[in-house]
């Protein structure tokens, strides 16, 4: 990818107040430094800035998911697991 997807961390700083995000941050396994280090030698606790980043990213993701959840789709629409338009259907 050319950089982080638009969902994550468009800006920093305002985030901890966002809905539900603070609770998620405080329960993140990455925040329990000692346990994380025991599981992974290179693990390190999140910095204050990273916590803010994470909270913002979680909040952004939640908002995006809510937008997608709110979209109505006809029952006939199947997932695009076959991906791109098959060659036999090329326009």
């Amino acid at each position: 990818m050319r950089n982080r997807t638009g969902l994550t961390r468009r800006s920093l700083g305002k985030a901890l107040a966002a809905s539900g995000a603070a609770a998620l941050v405080s329960s993140s396994p990455f925040l329990r430094g000692a346990e994380a280090k025991a599981a992974a030698p290179a693990a390190r606790p999140l910095s204050r800035e990273q916590k803010k980043d994470l909270a913002k990213a979680l909040s952004d993701t939640e908002k995006t998911l809510n937008k997608l959840r709110a979209r109505d789709l006809d029952e006939s629409v199947a997932p695009a697991f076959a991906i791109a338009i098959p060659e036999e259907r090329r326009p």
Binding site: L68, A80, E87
Partner: protein, 454 residues
């Protein structure tokens, strides 16, 4: 002719020199290897120089050509491959420290196809770690350090095919292989002033390539011209493809997107794109404004990539080695992805169906759509990328989510003399349309022949 001069030639001019034996594949490989070894570190463009393999392949090419067994236009041409394509017995690190000792026991399909075409692998090229699969916000998110733009070494190449863009621009190799999940071929092509081709999803086999997003990864070439990209794509495509000149680009229905540069973007980029439209119109192409379907392409693409990447790299999280990545925020990607439920992912994929159908309708009215590849020229190495590349990328989201082929061609210069690219996007499986317009543009302009300072 010096090595730099010779390596500045496109494949279409090098190939006749090799066939007529005015230049040998061995000499060409030696020139490329020398430049990779000398200049590769200047740009942080190289993960591994494959000297022994290259000379072996080049000597074999010379023997075959001398014996009259010419394999085609890539025979004896040196190239570099993004370091996410497996190479038998040669380190393939995915640009990431946790995989620094990874040595595959077979070649990726693309590497095999290029070997069959007689191309000479001279280097594995640097990349953003894991092709940016866990997200990244710094140019230095790579085991080889920040890739430096040959046009201005304190600026970035873009990613994730960073080394591929830099190596072609700096005349280290005549062409390179990159990959794109969202922007990773087109953006480095734009920032480095080279031509890049993103094929239709599934056009090129992903066997032996690192998976970031199984449903969005594509592999394609970066080179000096659209003609060269077409030549390489013909060699690596899993399905037959013919660029036989039968498409008249003047008869194609061409649209452009009038992007709003008021809030995001640089006016010099907008001006270069305007000039490019003017050049195409002067060449006889009718171009009219169009709008993409009003659908949340970027949101859905983001959800799909985040969910698939977190699954693809779950072993990194389990082992804790994710903390060895250069971007300190990489571990956060798993936390974020856990918010995406199974029904959310399925919903995104159902919306993807709607979007693919909407784009199919769009392409029943148009053959091609044009826009600036990026709103900006290359950013400084130390800038945060979410600021440097701020703004919507609707055509990128739609193109990658719907598996659409695209070419980025150099179309001028912006701030500080840095290259600007124009994206030409087509309907699925219609690479010949995309290439035909790109070739017409390059026949009428010379931006693709400009070279960075020596």
């Amino acid at each position: 002719m010096s090595g730099a001069d010779l390596l500045a030639l496109p494949v279409s001019e090098l190939s006749p020199l090799l066939l007529s034996r005015k230049v040998t594949a061995t000499a060409l490989a030696e020139m490329s290897l020398a430049r990779l070894e000398e200049l590769g570190p200047r740009y942080n463009a190289v993960a591994l120089v494959t000297r022994d393999l290259a000379l072996e392949q080049a000597r074999e090419a010379d023997r075959e050509i001398a014996a009259g067994r010419h394999r085609g236009p890539l025979h004896g041409i040196p190239y570099g491959a993004k370091d996410l394509l497996d190479t038998k017995g040669l380190r393939t690190t995915w640009g990431a420290r946790p995989y620094s000792a990874r040595v595959p026991d077979s070649d990726a399909e693309v590497i095999g196809r290029l070997r069959e075409a007689g191309a000479v692998l001279v280097a594995k090229l640097a990349m953003i770690e894991l092709a940016g699969g866990l997200g990244y916000n710094i140019a230095a998110a790579s085991a080889t350090g920040p890739a430096k733009n040959p046009w201005k070494t304190d600026c970035w190449t873009c990613g994730s095919s960073s080394g591929s863009g830099a190596a072609v621009a700096a005349r280290l190799v005549p062409f390179a292989i990159g990959s794109e999940t969202w922007g990773s071929i087109l953006c480095p092509s734009s920032f480095c002033g080279v031509t890049g081709l993103r094929p239709t999803y599934d056009r090129v086999s992903r066997r032996g390539a690192m998976a970031l997003s199984w449903t969005m990864d594509k592999i394609g070439p970066l080179a000096k011209s659209a003609r060269d990209c077409a030549t390489v794509l013909s060699a690596i495509s899993s399905r037959p493809i013919a660029f036989d000149g039968s498409v008249d680009p003047r008869k194609l229905r061409v649209a452009f997107l009038d992007l709003d540069f008021g809030k995001f973007g640089e006016k010099e980029v907008a001006a270069a794109f305007e000039n490019a439209l003017g050049a195409l119109r002067s060449a006889g192409v009718e171009i009219r404004e169009a709008k993409l379907p009003d659908l949340p392409f970027e949101d859905v693409a983001g959800i799909v990539i985040q969910a698939e990447a977190a699954a693809a790299f779950e072993n990194l999280e389990k082992s804790g080695r994710v903390f060895e990545l250069a971007d300190p925020d990489a571990p956060l990607a798993f936390e974020i992805a856990r918010k995406i439920g199974a029904t959310d992912y399925i919903k995104a994929m159902r919306l993807r169906t709607v979007m693919q159908e909407a784009m199919a309708r769009f392409f029943s009215e148009w053959d091609l759509v044009l826009a600036p590849t990026e709103r900006y020229v290359a950013s400084r190495l130390d800038r945060k990328l979410d600021e440097a590349l701020a703004g919507p990328d609707v055509l990128g989201g739609a193109g990658n989510l719907c598996g659409l082929p695209a070419v980025s061609v150099p179309c001028g210069f912006g701030k500080e003399g840095l290259p600007v690219g124009m994206a030409i996007v087509g309907a699925p499986w219609r690479e010949e349309n995309v290439v035909a317009l790109a070739e017409l543009y390059q026949a009428n302009t010379d931006w693709h022949t400009k070279e960075p300072p020596k």
